[in-house]
Symmetry: C2
Subunit: 311 residues, 2 copies
């Protein structure tokens, strides 16, 4: 099968199309024919070597897939051949998504909502679960909470806005002026231009701040109410920041996403209800993975970038 | 750290105590100091080479653990240092349980119920999830269903009886005469001595038959009502049997267990309520893993066999 591999850490041009062995599903697994695979920022860090989650190259990058079950190992009862599924298999222990086939434990997959395309479904797992595990599982947001989401137009941010709204929160988000209409269309109640100096300095009494960018922890101390929760998906290991936040009487949590079929089923239900709409900025054929990586690294994306397979 | 390894497939005496590197948890993982690790029949098949899930030796066997969180990688928010947890990490892709420490994704663990010891909790994941994924997720048993569970005194069977009873089913089970009091104490409504020829031949109109032994598929056809469900955790790949069952108007499903933190949380809740009580036949210190394997292979166990760590 065709897959994207790399034989060295480096710039996007290390990514190459290769012919590799089709994976063989083990007991408890299904073989998925991948129709679409989305790209996340973490992929670019693994590719470059900044975050060597997969060890030394060669390896296959990527985690987010949507596709069709082509083979079911006897013993798996959650899916049948032909079922449309999506998921984030093996994160962070092994990549595999940028390929024509992936072998996946059945409980790392959920059914693709019928009202989403494979491209849309593939955009959800890593970014959507990051938002859900941050806001629901960690911050435990509830109806009426005042929630600030940094970079609401980004991959994680645009899911976070919709998840927070579905939970009944009052959502404030930051975005460049050109993206204000977009984040409002997702349900944001207030939008702040992050180009303005000290853009959130006037906010007070927030219940939750979700930082998807990095660098907003100290600003969050003054804007959160006492006991309020600062969640970062970036500075997870910054113990000094954690100390400053907690010393000020606010709570600190760094969040790393992980596979979560139950969470994925909740996201699928939200999408089926129309409450979670993925935004796809652009798709690229698998062969143009390097171009797609360049775009993701530009930081100028709105929503998600997705690779498609010609099968 | 100490761990049980093997350098060749073979009889229980291939198991040896070795000093191996302590695992390093990745992002999304915690390091668990293992207090107890239970043995399952599948372990003996992997050890002997009959089911080479882990490839060629050397490897560390085992999946079921209960222990204490000793290290939390920043980014994990489900657990804190000192939390008592249990789970079945990495089944079936990698072993790791028969060791002093295991690095585990946080969503492959659940909190140990306070009313269970580590030995009891370690006995639950693989056998308990097998029973739950068979009866609840696959057979979808509901209140009033008539359910036959073969070998109700075994590792999977004794959990299956309790899970079926908690779901409101009428439970019929097979067991040797010496074990009748035991399976009745778990809630079985009817007990049949499996030593009797054609022991279940008189049964009719069953909703579900769960075969934890193998060989009861054809007998199930007559005892199940039309549309009834035959679930086997043994002959998953027997397509001829599947055909005979479905040709007779009954449904067939083979079940392979897989990691399932949401299911594990349900089992923990049942145990906390007193509705799921693990039965431990015997414990062995880690160093006596070979003796423990011999006992499991004898087939004469009631409930579970558990290894304990002297830490």
């Amino acid at each position: 099968m065709r897959a994207i591999t790399q034989h060295a850490f480096g710039a996007p041009d290390v990514l190459e199309v290769a012919d590799v062995a089709k994976p063989a599903p083990l007991p408890s697994e299904v073989l998925v024919r991948v129709h679409a695979a989305s790209i996340n920022r973490v992929d670019t860090y693994v590719r470059s070597g900044a975050l060597p989650l997969l060890g030394e190259p060669p390896f296959i990058l990527g985690w987010d897939i949507s596709g069709v079950v082509e083979e079911v190992v006897p013993g798996v009862t959650r899916f049948d051949i032909g079922d449309e599924v999506f998921g984030m298999p093996f994160f962070p222990r092994a990549g595999s998504a940028f390929a024509e086939y992936v072998a996946v434990p059945s409980r790392q997959l959920a059914r693709k909502p019928a009202n989403l395309s494979h491209v849309e479904a593939a955009s959800i797992p890593l970014a959507g679960l990051t938002a859900r595990q941050s806001l629901i599982d960690t911050a435990h947001i509830t109806e009426g909470d005042r929630v600030l989401i940094h970079a609401g137009a980004g991959g994680v941010g645009h899911f976070a806005i919709q998840i927070a709204k579905a939970a009944g929160a009052h959502v404030i988000t930051t975005a460049g002026a050109a993206k204000h209409d977009f984040v409002k269309s997702l349900g944001a109640d207030e939008v702040i231009d992050y180009h303005t100096t000290d853009c959130t300095g006037h906010l007070r009494d927030l219940d939750v701040v979700l930082d998807t960018v990095g660098g907003y922890g100290d600003a969050a101390i003054a804007t959160l109410k006492p006991g309020g929760r600062f969640i970062t998906i970036v500075e997870r290991t910054d113990l000094d920041l954690a100390h400053r936040v907690t010393a000020a009487g606010r709570r600190f949590a760094g969040v790393t996403v992980e596979p979560d079929y139950a969470g994925l089923e909740r996201l699928a239900a939200l999408a089926a209800d129309g409450a979670l709409r993925p935004h796809i900025q652009q798709t690229f054929p698998l062969e143009e993975a390097a171009k797609a990586h360049e775009l993701v690294e530009s930081g100028r994306t709105v929503g998600k970038i997705v690779l498609t397979m010609s099968n």
